[in-house]
């Protein structure tokens, strides 16, 4: 029954998400209101950017733990430049430059020196957090005001937030790159087997460095989106929560954590799932303390479910 298992694996999250929406709607009709839907669409933007960057990293068989705290650092970079110049252009250039530099650094350490990605990015997580707090002292914040931040954070186009449209456009772009370009195929090949990819003529190191630069760039964008929505930046922003949500989204979306498998569509539905859960927890007045429990449990459950599905797939293949 390849069709059934395929349907289950790739589409199950759609049914689960829709069913959840229905349940939440029955509990609180406000859940499906237009206002709340657009609120969800705005809340998931930073998470979605993290998920998208992490998706490519995980498919290539690595992990980037520095993405969450990286976003916070980049948001602060933006804030500092905004505070100095009163404009955003220079700040955004700085964010892009810094994020690409961080990604390049991560990638070089992982490829050229063959260090494990989780150790490199774990130490980067700490460096980013430390730097954030050194740039802006603890307890202080920089307020971000002006047309640009209102545009990113609050303006809509035909009822949809611009930031959400930007995210969707990026997902579409990523889908094309992932499914229809040599680079996308190379990322999958590297995730399946670096040795085979190398023999097939793929420049493995360059692909991996590219993947890390992309994920860091995504966290830079996430930082911009996050700070625009909040209207201020400070070092105490919850970068690790962002990282966990992003990882949860792609695991729920069926990405194989060992690398080499995963779909952009799945990642997007996983993202919607996380967005719905996060929103519902707030809307239904679930106490804050429960949120992390849910997140941990959801990731564990998704890991287990993925395992079962891949296991059944392997049995079929034999």
């Amino acid at each position: 029954m390849p069709d059934l298992s395929r349907l289950l694996r790739e589409k199950n999250i759609i049914f689960v998400t829709l069913a959840l929406c229905l349940v939440f709607y029955l509990i609180s009709p406000r859940f499906l209101s237009l206002d709340n839907m657009s609120a969800i669409s705005r809340q998931i933007v930073p998470i979605g950017l993290i998920a998208l960057g992490q998706f490519f990293v995980v498919v290539s068989g690595n992990i980037d733990l520095s993405m969450g705290m990286g976003s916070v650092l980049f948001a602060i970079v933006l804030g500092v430049f905004f505070g100095m110049t009163g404009g955003v252009a220079l700040g955004i250039v700085a964010v892009i430059a810094c994020s690409l530099a961080l990604g390049f650094f991560n990638g070089v350490l992982v490829t050229k020196l063959r260090l494990p990605a989780f150790i490199v990015t774990l130490s980067m997580l700490f460096c980013a957090q430390g730097l954030s707090g050194l740039i802006i002292p603890r307890g202080q914040q920089i307020f971000l005001m002006g047309d640009f931040f209102r545009f990113i954070g609050a303006e809509k186009f035909m009822g949809l937030y611009w930031s959400f449209l930007f995210l969707v456009a990026l997902f579409v772009l990523a889908w094309v790159v992932y499914n229809h370009t040599r680079w996308g195929a190379a990322v999958i090949a590297v995730g399946n087997s670096e040795e085979n990819a190398r023999l097939a003529g793929v420049n493995v190191d360059r692909v991996k460095i590219g993947v890390f630069m992309f994920s860091a760039l995504c966290s830079g964008f996430a930082g911009i989106m996050l700070s625009s929505r909040m209207g201020f930046v400070q070092p105490g922003l919850d970068g690790n929560g962002l990282l966990l949500d992003g990882i949860a989204a792609i695991i729920i979306g069926g990405t194989l954590i060992l690398g080499g498998r995963g779909t952009i569509g799945g990642a997007f539905w996983g993202l919607l799932f996380i967005g719905v859960i996060n929103n519902a927890l707030n809307l239904l007045n679930v106490e804050d303390v429960w949120h992390q429990v849910f997140k941990g449990a959801v990731i564990l459950a998704a890991l287990g479910a993925n395992w079962v599905l891949w296991q059944s797939r392997q049995v079929e293949a034999h």
Binding site: I63, I119, Q129, G133, V289, Q292, V293, L303
Partner: protein, 326 residues
């Protein structure tokens, strides 16, 4: 397969040589760091401060020893810090409910083992990547701790429960001999028991260990349960030290433990390392951190320094090993 038995003693001997060298370097660095901070801070050498230092890193000793077992199998445990908070919460709740220190101890250790068992089953039996699974339990255990405490601290007054973490004989905290005892017990387990050999076997080559019937899957489960149990003991000590249970305790403790273990010469890729190295690593790392705190360094700068230390040590190790290989 036949070569493993013949080659093992020789390779082990060589590994010990380079590890011994490393331990000498570590001891040298510990002396240098102590002298440096001694000059920077007059209080550093007082007996009281040494007691405070050792007590403050007692938890790191325990957690790092558990982490050593895990890293010897080639794994990682990002959940220990959260687990310390969770186990502490369960212990404190059990204690206040029954007013029996013994029940509190047992509850804390069992709670720690439970999180460890989740890690172990997902990593050992399902063969999922360790950092992914423990990242999930990192969130789960912290969340459960916040739920248990309702995001607030709970004061503890039971003297027996606080004894281990809070009591001192003169300037010697009770917890130091306790840590030494655990070290001896774990050394026996690692070097003198079949389980210890299974740990090295699972980390050196999982597939070979599997083919030889050493059941590395089962070894992995128990290694994570052991780490959980040590997190439970750490929770008891943490509560005892401050006479209260706190939901945010042990934040980023796993990071400190990983750094200390790597500093102590245990390989990130499994199969190589010793508990003694971890003890030295914790001492050096603890002295540096304690020194940073004593000299009033900005906490964010401390984190930056911690990140750079981890990166630097891993980098140095890799470069040295590559040079040796050439």
């Amino acid at each position: 397969m036949t070569t493993t038995t013949a080659a093992a003693p020789a390779r082990r001997g060589k590994a010990m040589d380079s590890l011994t060298q490393r331990y000498l370097v570590l001891i040298g660095l510990i002396v240098i760091a102590s002298v440096g901070f001694g000059i920077a801070n007059d209080n550093f050498y007082s007996l009281a401060n040494i007691g405070i230092l050792l007590r403050s890193i007692a938890v790191l000793f325990l957690v790092s020893m558990g982490m050593t077992f895990i890293m010897l199998t080639g794994g990682i445990d990002l959940s220990v810090g959260s687990n310390v908070a969770f186990a502490g919460g369960v212990g404190v709740i059990a204690l206040t409910a029954t007013d029996s220190a013994l029940v509190g101890f047992a509850a804390a250790v069992l709670a720690g083992m439970a999180i460890g068992a989740i890690n172990g089953v997902f990593i050992g039996r399902l063969r999922l990547s360790a950092f992914m699974v423990t990242l999930a339990t990192f969130a789960l255990a912290r969340g459960l701790a916040l739920v248990i405490y309702d995001a607030d601290s709970i004061n503890v007054f039971n003297g027996a429960f606080l004894w281990l973490g809070g009591q001192s004989w003169g300037n010697m905290p009770v917890v130091i001999p306790f840590v030494a005892l655990v070290f001896v017990a774990l050394s026996v387990l690692l070097y003198r028991s079949p389980f210890g050999r299974d740990v090295y076997a699972a980390g050196s080559n999982f597939n070979t260990a599997f083919v030889l019937g050493r059941m590395p899957q089962r070894t992995l489960v128990w290694v994570y349960v052991l780490s959980g149990a040590l997190a439970g003991l750490s929770a008891i000590i943490t509560v005892g030290r401050v006479s209260s249970g706190q939901p945010w305790t042990g934040l980023y403790l796993e990071f400190d433990a990983i750094t200390a273990v790597i500093l102590g010469g245990t390989s990130l890729f499994g199969g190589r390392g010793r508990l003694l190295g971890t003890i030295l690593g914790v001492l050096l790392y603890g002295i540096i951190i304690n020194g940073l705190v004593l000299t009033g360094t900005n906490p964010y700068l401390q984190n930056l320094i911690k990140g750079l230390i981890l990166l630097g040590v891993v980098l140095l190790d890799t470069l040295v090993q590559r040079r040796k290989a050439q």
